[in-house]
Amino acid sequence: MRTRATALRAGGLLILAVIGWLLPYQLDSYSIHVVDVMIVFALLAIGLGLAMGIAGQINLAQVAFFGVAAYATAILTTKAGYGFWTSAILALAAAAAFGLVVGLPALRIQSHYLGIVTLGLALAFTNWATNATITGGAEGISGIAGPILPGIDLSSEYLYYYLELIVFAIALAFGLFVVHTPLGRRMRAMRDDALAAGAIGAEVPALRMTAFLLASVYGGLAGVLYAGLIRYVAPETFSIANMFFLLAMVIIGGRQSLVGCVVGAAGLTLVRELLADYPTYAQIAYGTVVVLTVVFAPTGLAGIPARLRSTASRLGWTRQPAAAGTAALGPFEPYTAAQPVDSDTRRTEPILAIDNIDMSFRGLQALRGVQLTVAPGEIRGIVGPNGSGKTTLFNVISGLYKPTGGTVHVSGRNLTGASSHRLARVGIARTFQNLRLFGQLTVRDNILVALDDTRTYQAWRYLLWPFGIWRHDRNLRTAADEILTRYGLAAFGDALPGALPYGIQRRAEIARAMARRPRLLLLDEPAAGLNGEETRQLSEIVRSIRATGVTVIVIEHNMSLVMSLCERITVLAGGTVIAEGTPAEVAQAPQVIEAYLGDSDLSHDVPAPVPTEIAS
């Protein structure tokens, strides 16, 4: 099956390459110009797709990245007297630097805030280009020196096409490579849930900057090619109207698919060319299509095959694949080799020592002077009525909240207020009360993101040693299959988490946390919503995880599970620790009975719907 699909794909690629190579022979001089412009827009669209569709960063400054590179090429060739190729490299660097500056606000703000800031900076760029003397003001710069290659006359638009085609093919292949390997997977995880991505070790700030860097380099490539093709730049090319046109390409084509972005760019450039005499009608048409796409086909043209397939299988036209609903959760295969993970540390040192932690949110004190010391290899239970601060405590331990007072030591290191991805690297993994799997990633990809331990700064290897990345990715896939099998999830590897039953999602989240190979595992209400058999399996899984030397802290309302599973239990009430000890000791402590069981309504037996305790 797999080899046949690969052969088909290779054949398709070959045909596309031949068509691409022979295309100029079929076109007149005007059409080839249109195609040349189309390729420039396709490069721009890939960059925008990488930032918006893959990394989830609203970027309305793509057209400014394009402009910076085009203007840099123009100024360097006409005013500074550099050759085209030297100027091109400097222009790319300028676009990348500008991209990083525009991306800086993304470290603090997201979503619509980022939209308005990037749009404002794009306007600022056009404003500068229209007014500065070096840019030639509203008239722009003409007479840009084109690229020169020995023996090839690149002033012919036919031959320029081949230059563009080669750059485009490499750029698209590189983009697709990034998307389907660890870096892109981490960006997609960040797009779906930045909090959960941080908790499994993705350096969210660095990834956001990487997204803007990629977008600006693609924008820069487009700008350089544009300057070499048209030999003239003027401010209106980089206007907000063209930014929205570019956005329409990406949305209509499908922002989460680079190929979709390219198709959107090609389609819209063609339509605009066909309606060149009626620009206003063209504008109405693509505006309307954007609205319709957003409402009826949010995944754009690229999403149509998948939608057709799902419709076909719903109507019974195709054989149902053995996926989602039908297959059952497999049995858990216990870990065999019980090797302690950190054999070198003195076993007496606590893996987690929390001292006098305070946490308050604008006057509401959620934690007050909390003390907690957990020995390595322990299973610790944390119980308490709803609103007693259990999840807040987890959020402090895993770095989602910075405590307002007190210290957190992990294996003797002071890590108070460290970021969640740093704590994840130290060996803390967690699950979430309200399930935070990455919704647009398959279960396998969810595991793969967690397995990968490369740092974002190592992304330079994508440029210099892609083969190493490819091999690394292959190893990760083998490891992911092992984990899927161990947790009985093999049948669901290719399913999206949202389509799976609740119990399977809970299991997948534990598998994802364990893919981090943690020393300390935090489970937030792992039995919530599970049936009796699933709860029994959970208890078996937690014991097996501990047998490998991992320390487990579990928040749970199911008292019989906590009593049978945990060696020690900490009881929280009203943000303070009111009791700690073995299950038997805790169950008899009068203050526990008063705060917890003494309630006439036995609050722990009524699993009230708990509001999200993690700010998003």
Binding site: L104, G120, Q283, S616
Partner: protein
């Protein structure tokens, strides 16, 4: 010093218009968590409508404004109805959807009124007042008075009427609001209509201050939006303060940096928002994004 106050007065007057635009943004956002990027284009349509009824149909300026508000209110209903399936679901898609609407509105305006644009004479032709040596255009005072009255009416509506209270409830928690029997869809539609009507009011007021053209919506919308965010997105007093702040910033930037005023305005805005993302008054509702 005189120049300083002169610039300040000009900035406050333009800022009052930005404040009305910001108010529309904030009202829609706090009710349904939607950033309406087509809001600026609705302002532009309002400006054209008002100027057409005022100049061509020779109606009184006030009446022309009211008719323009009714027409844009209708546009608001249409936008809300089309995008309703996305409400409270995908924030980014909705944002892009409204950009699509903006593109269409701009093209429609070009079709109807042409691409060149028009100047609108001031409806109050009196000579500028002289206050301690500072010249104040009477029209600026009219703009300030109308903006203040509109804000006061909006506050009264939100705080004193049952419908307004229902909208506040939807803003805080749309699920809980549904549970106590509030029609969330209707509440959202009203927010959209009110926002669009405010846009038309801003548009008709800005006509005599600026040149009316199909592309005016872009800049006005972005600056109004910047004002709303600067004040604290979703907050009514924030929209007023932020809008006026952007107007004053704009006015001083134009005075000191001439052609580069937009560059300076947006750089300052970016720095401010990065330093304090919640704005002056803080975001009123919980971050819905």
């Amino acid at each position: 010093m005189q120049i300083f106050f002169q610039t300040l007065i000009g900035g406050v007057s333009l800022g009052a218009v930005y404040a009305l635009v910001a108010l529309g943004f904030s009202l829609v956002y706090r009710t349904m968590g939607l950033v309406n990027f087509s809001h600026g284009n609705v302002v532009m349509i309002g400006a054209y409508m008002a100027s057409t009824f005022y100049l061509t149909a020779k109606l009184p300026f006030a009446l022309a404004t009211v008719i323009a508000m009714a027409v844009t209110g209708l546009i608001g209903v249409i936008i809300e109805r089309v995008l309703r399936p996305l409400e409270n679901k995908d924030f980014d898609l909705m944002l892009i959807g409204t950009i699509g609407f903006g593109i269409v509105l701009e093209a429609l305006a070009t079709l109807v009124w042409g691409a060149t644009g028009r100047a609108v004479p001031s409806p109050v032709p009196a000579a500028p007042l002289d206050l301690f040596g500072i010249k104040v255009r009477t029209y600026d005072l009219v703009v300030l008075a109308i903006a203040a009255a509109a804000t006061a009416l909006l506050m009264l509506f939100l705080q004193r009427t049952k419908r307004g209270a229902a909208m506040q409830a939807v803003a805080m928690d749309h699920e809980a609001a549904t549970a106590v029997g509030i029609h969330v869809g209707r509440s959202n539609a009203i927010a959209f209509v009110l926002g669009a009507a405010l846009a038309a009011l801003a548009g008709s007021l800005v006509g005599p201050l600026l040149y009316v053209s199909p592309t005016m919506g872009g800049t006005l919308g972005i600056k109004g939006f910047a004002g709303a965010i600067l004040g604290g997105f979703g907050s009514i007093p924030g929209a007023i303060a932020g809008g006026i702040a952007i107007g004053v910033l704009d006015s001083f930037a134009a005075g000191h940096f001439q052609g580069y005023s937009e560059l300076v305005t947006f750089l300052v805005f970016t720095i401010l928002i990065v330093i304090r993302p919640t704005g002056i008054f803080g975001e009123r509702t919980v971050n819905r994004a």
